[in-house]
């Protein structure tokens, strides 16, 4: 198969409109093309998945969550009740004995089969996990180098933030590249975010209301945490009077409502 045809298949796969016949063709092409083709397909797939973000702002009805949980709990109840109902009577000792012997043999062979299968699955998972971790480390290294580009740029300005009452030991630094509007936020010693909360970064210009510069969460307490921010809300560090981080309900708020954890001025 020529590369152009292969890429046509990658396009429809990535956009989720591939037909069964094309899928078969794609599987064959991957078997022939090896890692090179797999990497090309992965690039298409990753790009295709980003389409999920090309949407306009909208919020679902808050009642949907309750309805979802009600539905899954109802399903659970009906599964539980069906599993305890309808006990079928048995007919005669011979049939019972035959059924028991068959059940025993089936169980024995099934047990051996599943044991072997589980071992194979565990080994496959280990290999896959290690390969993933290696790629993950390579990606982290690449991202770290990219962060360093922002931090070390000659147009970068630094805003240092100190910890306030909820977490006095915390501190933060905002590196703002004034030429590209990209920023890197470094946070240290901030506690992990509660499940229903997010941290929100604010920029305050003189005499103006705070403007949100992004929302993030911390899964666990971290010594240091870095985030990149593209198109930072204010390109000119001279116009920033202060930068702050507050804790807000998940998803963030239009204006700060929660405790302020970090505050700094340029």
């Amino acid at each position: 198969m020529n590369k152009e045809r292969f890429e046509d298949l990658c396009v429809v796969y990535a956009l989720g409109t591939i037909t069964k016949a094309e899928m078969e063709e794609l599987r064959n092409a991957l078997a022939e093309g090896g890692n090179e083709y797999a990497e090309i397909l992965a690039s298409y797939k990753n790009a295709g998945q980003q389409f999920a973000y090309a949407t306009e702002e909208a919020l679902p009805n808050p009642k949907v969550k309750d309805a979802v949980f009600e539905a899954i709990n109802n399903n659970q109840k009906s599964e539980d009740s069906s599993s305890t109902a309808n006990v079928t009577p048995l007919f005669g000792y011979l049939k019972v004995a035959a059924i028991l012997i068959l059940a025993f043999l089936s169980g024995y062979f099934y047990y051996n089969y599943t044991q072997l299968n589980e071992e194979v699955t565990v080994l496959e998972d280990t290999v896959e996990q290690q390969r993933f971790e290696l790629l993950d480390l390579q990606n982290q290294l690449a991202a770290a180098e990219e962060y360093l580009n922002v931090i070390s740029s000659r147009n970068t300005r630094l805003v240092a933030m100190g910890g306030l009452e909820p977490s006095p030991a915390a501190f933060g630094r905002l590196f703002l590249d004034q030429e590209t509007s990209r920023a890197v936020l470094q946070i240290a010693e901030l506690p992990a975010t509660p499940e229903d909360k997010d941290y929100q970064l604010w920029v305050i210009r003189d005499g103006e209301d705070p403007v949100s510069a992004g929302v993030f969460s911390l899964e666990r307490d971290l010594e240091n945490y870095y985030l990149s921010i593209d198109d930072f809300v204010e390109q000119d560090a001279e116009l920033i009077a202060a930068v702050a981080i507050t804790i807000e309900p998940r998803g963030g708020m239009p204006q700060p409502t929660g405790d302020m954890f970090l505050l700094g001025t340029p």
């Binding site: 046509d8 429809v12 989720g16 389409f51 962060y147």
Partner: protein, 205 residues
């Protein structure tokens, strides 16, 4: 100093995928708290995606509910080799939303892949990093919209119609009154352009 920062970054970069895989494992074991967290993380993204497809808020809320019930019931079947939770979940939501705007036999008739399981090519995802992985989730939408605006409109339109309406290339050719070869070429060129834009973005972070 720079080396110290480099190591600090390496230690602390958020591992969103790991976090979500762990969440999916908990959900597959019946952990409703984990499911609640996944709901909070994904509700807005999925609602926006579904709404863009079905174009009606009430229907979008219904589909969102169906999608999350489906995620709960199918979570046991998910594992990392099937790709990222993000890819798995958004594919599920998109397909469910497209089913809603099509007749029941529509996808059967045109023989596109209907079952998410059949759509999986194991271990493809881990060959490449998500191009926007280092970006705040709240910024991704803005960036993807901007990226699509940089693609020639005749290419962008075909890609958007395919993703959000589920049209095959033959259907797009009829819809836009174009030869099939032109549709294929434009979509291929558009995707290549999009990948370059996303890659440039990744390089510039």
């Amino acid at each position: 100093m720079l080396i110290a920062i480099l190591f600090a970054v390496l230690r602390s970069l958020p591992k969103q995928v790991d976090k979500e895989v762990k969440l999916m494992e908990k959900i597959s074991n019946g952990d409703q708290n984990a499911f609640s967290q996944l709901y909070d993380d994904y509700q807005q993204l999925l609602f926006r995606l579904i709404l863009k497809i079905v174009k009606d808020e009430e229907t979008a809320n219904d589909v969102l509910q169906e999608v999350f019930v489906l995620i709960w019931s199918k979570a046991k079947g998910y594992n990392r080799s099937k790709g990222t939770p993000f890819g798995w979940i958004t594919t599920l939501a998109r397909n469910k939303a497209i089913d809603k705007i099509r007749s029941a036999d529509y996808r059967k008739e045109k023989e596109t892949i209907n079952d998410e399981e059949d759509f999986i090519l194991p271990n493809i995802e881990s060959y490449n990093q998500d191009p926007l992985a280092a970006t705040m989730a709240s910024q991704r939408s803005k960036w993807m919209t901007k990226a699509l605006d940089l693609i020639p409109v005749e290419q962008k339109q075909l890609l958007v119609d395919a993703y959000f309406q589920g049209y095959t290339q033959s259907e797009l050719a009829k819809l836009h009154d174009l030869p099939l070869g032109t549709v294929k070429a434009r979509m291929r060129q558009g995707m290549i352009k999009l990948m370059n834009i996303l890659s440039d973005y990744k390089d510039k972070i």
